[in-house]
Amino acid sequence: MKRSWRGVLLMCLVLFLNIVFTQKAIHQYYYEHYVATIVYAALNVILFPIAVWLYRVERKVR
């Protein structure tokens, strides 16, 4: 492989999970499953440091 797509693919995964968790958090809020809402919101928050870390690791990979 000439160039590594791993970083791009992992970032796409992060974005995908972000969308899923956001959607879930809001729906679970309206379903009055408040604990689930907090869990999904927390997962969304945790994805951010993961994204930063992935960026750091992957930015140098050519």
């Binding site: 160039r3 970083g7 791009v8 970032m11 796409c12 992060v14 974005l15 972000n18 969308i19 968790f21 956001t22 958090a25 809001i26 729906h27 809020y29 309206y30 379903y31 009055e32 408040y34 604990v35 809402t37 907090i38 999904y40 919101a41 927390a42 969304n44 928050v45 994805l47 951010f48 993961i50 994204a51 930063v52 992935l54 960026y55 992957e58 930015r59 050519r62």
Partner: protein
């Protein structure tokens, strides 16, 4: 092309058959890949921040301790309602609009009419006997509030009713059973 200019690099016009000499493909691509990753990091931050209020609201609800209490309220215009007709009212607060539908002689149903897609007001289409959201053509079943077509995924929240001699009263918002 004159002989007096032996070094023509970086001069205009540059002698070549295309004008892409200033595009360094590999570098441009590397920039693209990296910029893409940066954008996603930014997006992850935005998503994280935007779900925080929902988490905070959920915590507040938990702190208030599950069960909510609702005041009993008469529904104006419910007494003269004919079968197949609907009337709009506000419940539980004056900012939450709702729809009371008379489906049969003794059959009443009421739902909060904020569409579960993006909260447009849902209206009663007597001709088709369906609840219709005009914004993105969401449809709801009047028998149980479940979405039947279009973008909405959650049923409309149902309002508990008490049918009395002088009209219909709203007594609470039912919990989702799912």
């Amino acid at each position: 092309m004159s002989e007096k200019q032996p070094d023509r690099n970086n001069k205009i016009p540059f002698e070549e058959d295309n004008y892409t000499h200033n595009i360094r493909k590999n570098e441009e691509r590397r920039l693209d890949r990296r910029t893409f990753m940066k954008t996603i990091v930014g997006a992850a931050g935005v998503f994280a921040v935007s779900t925080l209020p929902w988490g905070a609201l959920a915590m507040r609800e938990l702190a208030n301790g599950g069960e909510k209490s609702y005041a009993k309220a008469a529904i104006p215009g419910s007494a003269g309602l004919r079968v197949g007709e609907a009337v709009e009212f506000a419940y539980p607060s004056e900012h939450d609009t709702a729809l009371l539908i008379r489906l049969g002689e003794n059959e009443y149903k009421a739902y909060q009419n904020a569409c579960t897609h993006l909260r447009c007001p849902v209206v009663w289409d007597g001709g088709r006997t369906e609840l219709v959201c005009p914004c993105h053509h969401g449809f709801f079943d009047p028998a149980n509030g479940a979405p039947t077509a279009g973008p909405p995924r959650r049923p409309l929240p149902e309002i508990a009713l008490s049918v009395e001699a002088d009209g219909v009263y709203a007594i609470g918002v039912k919990r989702y059973e799912a």
